[in-house]
């Protein structure tokens, strides 16, 4: 009697795949190319990544889902887990492995976080799959840097390049915040915090280096305990630093690593201090989690243009987005779109289902103007030549750009 019930229980898990598979809904046509995106779709980043995925879908729709002889299938994968509320190495690895094992996958758009990129790059590099990241900005992913002598070779076990990104790197973004504090805000004393992740810690270091060069006093560079629910004690400590509270705090981190809570606790504790945060906080979720009183107190840097400032093809993208999805795109939406456009252009050019050929085509993208952010190229490291930076403040619950900087200026679209 027990045996029978037990038997049924054992058969059950094996029956499900049969029924799901045999219904034929998983069969794919022969000439399908799969584009995979790996973004944090769970947790507070969902708002931002929703708009990015929409951007990718818009790009594919512009080709009507067909490039040359191939049908384009888009898979929206999640590299975040509910238990952590943000990306995890295990999820990102699983996405990378799944992409490698699926013979139809040609391009991997993502990830959003630099830490996730560090984890999946070696896997995808070995398999020779091209990666186009719309948001991972840590310097060491593509360039040699003083902090870590093993980067970027450790991400390229095959010796060839496969990683590209459509946004500029943190070795430029970090010092821009320092310059803003010194020249625009005219402040002198800074305290640096970071979230101990590849992106946050990296950009905090870049900021510190830039700040020291400009003669600012850096009172400390400390990592926070991201698992903590509030940072009252930390802010009390900072407030009682040698020589009084700092004029500014720089937090290298993201909304998901408690950027909003840092802002909230700082505002409560130090009325005269300002907060600078990098592009990992450039999303509505940050404004929501930081609470009230952000006007004139919080500034966010971003390696790109705010959607309200896009012109030409970019403006058209924003309008089409609003028309289709009835809501405003967030900052990275257009970069998701751009990454997809690069991928599709390369697939069209190669017109073969060959990972290596498509990878080479993507790396060789030069004077690309089919997208929405002007004309730019990938350089020999896989970095973009487009180097516009924005610094925004927060007004009425929205990002309002106050300064735009041009590195290598892309020509008008």
């Amino acid at each position: 009697m027990r045996f029978r019930w037990f038997h049924i229980l054992l058969v059950f898990p094996f029956a499900i795949p049969f029924s799901a598979g045999c219904s034929g809904c998983n069969k794919r046509e022969a000439n399908t190319i799969v584009i995979v995106s790996s973004l944090p779709r769970t947790g507070s980043a969902k708002g931002q990544t929703d708009t990015m995925v929409n951007g990718i879908k818009m790009a594919i729709d512009e080709y009507d889902g067909k490039v040359g002889d191939f049908k384009i299938l888009f898979q929206d994968k999640d590299d975040a887990e509910a238990s952590s509320g943000q990306w995890t190495a295990a999820a990102e690895t699983a996405n990378a492995n799944a992409a490698v094992n699926d013979k139809d996958v040609m391009v991997y758009i993502g990830p959003y976080n630099s830490g996730a990129a560090a984890v999946s790059m070696p896997i995808l590099n070995k398999a020779g799959i091209a990666m186009i990241s719309p948001a991972a900005t840590a310097t060491g992913l593509t360039k040699k840097n003083a902090d870590n002598k093993d980067e970027p070779d450790i991400y390229r076990p095959s010796g060839k390049l496969n990683f590209t990104r459509v946004v500029p790197t943190d070795d430029l973004q970090g010092p821009i915040a320092a310059r803003f504090i010194a020249e625009e805000l005219k402040k002198k004393r800074v305290y640096v915090l970071n979230d101990n992740e590849r992106y946050g810690e990296g950009i905090a270091k870049e900021f510190e280096a830039g700040a020291r060069k400009l003669g600012l006093t850096v009172l400390g560079n400390e990592k926070i305990n991201v698992a903590q629910q509030e940072f009252g004690s930390l802010m009390t400590k900072i407030k009682n630093s040698e020589g009084g509270p700092p004029d500014a705090i720089y937090f290298g981190g993201t909304t998901q690593s408690k950027g909003g809570q840092v802002a909230k606790d700082m505002i409560k504790s130090m009325p005269n201090c300002v907060l600078l945060v990098p592009d990992g906080c450039y999303e509505k979720a940050f404004i929501d989690s930081a609470g009230a009183g952000l006007e004139g107190r919080v500034f966010v840097t971003f390696g790109g243009q705010d959607p309200t400032r896009l012109t030409g093809a970019g403006k058209t993208f924003v309008e089409k987005y609003k028309e289709k999805y009835k809501t405003d795109p967030e900052a990275y939406a257009v970069y998701g779109y751009e990454a997809a456009k690069v991928a599709l252009a390369a697939i069209k050019k190669v017109n073969k289902k060959d990972r290596d050929a498509i990878r080479e085509a993507i790396l060789g993208t030069k004077n690309f103007s089919e997208g929405a952010i002007g004309t730019w190229s990938f350089d020999e490291n896989g970095d973009t030549t487009a180097q516009i930076f924005t610094i925004s403040e927060i007004k009425n619950g929205n990002f309002v750009p106050v300064k735009e900087l041009n590195g290598l200026k892309p020509s008008a679209p």
Binding site: G43, N225, E230, K237, N240
Partner: protein
């Protein structure tokens, strides 16, 4: 990597951290009491208690959102005071009720089972509550202040150079009468006497005609009630809730209960305050993760060398 010592302005820093420690310690004490009461009476480590606290916070947020949708924008003042009172009335009852239901459904059938069985069940309940919290709150944290500013951010008063904020005062003002009320309940009421009797010896209490199942249910209710109170004042003070918040706070409070002597009410309060100080000073004087390690280290050392805690407890090893 290693904990750093903060330099400069140490005098002021110390007092501010002390106040912060007092406030956080009161919160831990409220939650620790729930652990202590339940353990005292049925020797169960209620792993789900911290998550009940989280559900209380979720209820606080939902009720506030509801109030705002009825009354419009709320700023600190008469209306917000009424809402806070309402929260303090409703949420603890909610948590107490949930706790009673859990006891009835999960733990009561297991009264005769070996000790590890209800313990493992409590782990299961913890997971279920966390999942409910995840569906209720969502995977992203939510901020109470986006709904309503119920307690002002300003300072109520100042002791020397150290500000005492309204939010801190709310915690302290709530905790003190609760402790007094609880002590009165346990010492001077019939129910309190029944609770003490059941905790001492369940069978003997039954023989004396005490309805132990009802006493146990009442204990769960009180424990839940306290967790609910803690949830309301925590949410008012910190302003931000996420579905994972029960685990860490729960473990801290549980350590507090052990430190003070589990099963011992004044011990739970003492333990809570001590842990609040460790939390505050640790956060102020060292970096990040070491506070966690320190608190768990304290837990382990106590469990190994002095499991009865600082004020001792009433349970004995039965052969």
């Amino acid at each position: 990597m290693l904990p750093l010592l903060a330099d400069g302005n140490s005098g002021n820093l110390f007092w501010e951290l002390l106040v912060n420690g007092l406030v956080m310690g009161s919160l831990f004490a409220l939650i620790a009491l729930g652990y202590s009461l339940v353990y005292g009476i049925i020797e169960l480590v209620n792993f789900a208690h911290g998550d009940l606290f989280m559900l209380g916070a979720a209820m606080t947020y939902t009720l506030t959102a509801l109030a705002v949708s009825w009354f419009g924008v709320v700023t600190p003042g008469g209306m917000s005071f009424a809402i806070v009172l309402g929260l303090l009335l409703i949420v603890p009852f909610f948590c107490g009720g949930v706790n009673v239901v859990i006891d009835r459904v999960v733990y009561r059938p297991l009264r005769q089972s070996p000790r590890l069985v209800p313990l493992v069940s409590a782990l299961g309940v913890s997971f279920v509550l966390v999942n409910i919290g995840q569906l209720w709150i969502g995977t992203a944290p939510v901020s109470l202040e986006n709904k309503a500013q119920l307690v002002s951010d300003a300072s109520l008063t100042q002791i020397g150079e150290v500000p005492i904020k309204w939010k801190d005062a709310v915690v302290l003002i709530t905790v003190v009468p609760v402790m007094i009320g609880l002590t009165w309940l346990v010492k001077f009421t019939r129910m309190g006497k029944a609770m003490r009797a059941t905790a001492q010896n369940l069978v003997a209490a039954q023989l004396m005609g005490i309805g132990v199942q009802r006493v146990i249910a009442s204990t769960f209710f009180i424990g839940g009630y306290l967790a609910g109170l803690a949830a309301v004042v925590y949410t008012l003070k910190i302003g931000r809730i996420e579905y994972q918040m029960g685990f860490q706070n729960g473990l801290y409070a549980f350590t507090a209960a052990i430190v003070g002597g589990i099963g011992n009410i004044p011990g739970a309060v003492l333990g809570g305050l001590l842990l609040g100080f460790i939390y505050s000073f640790g956060g102020g004087y060292s970096q990040g993760n070491w506070v966690d390690a320190l608190i768990f280290g304290v837990l382990i050392v106590l469990l190994i060398f002095r499991p009865t805690g600082l004020l001792g407890s009433r349970t004995r090893e039965k052969v």
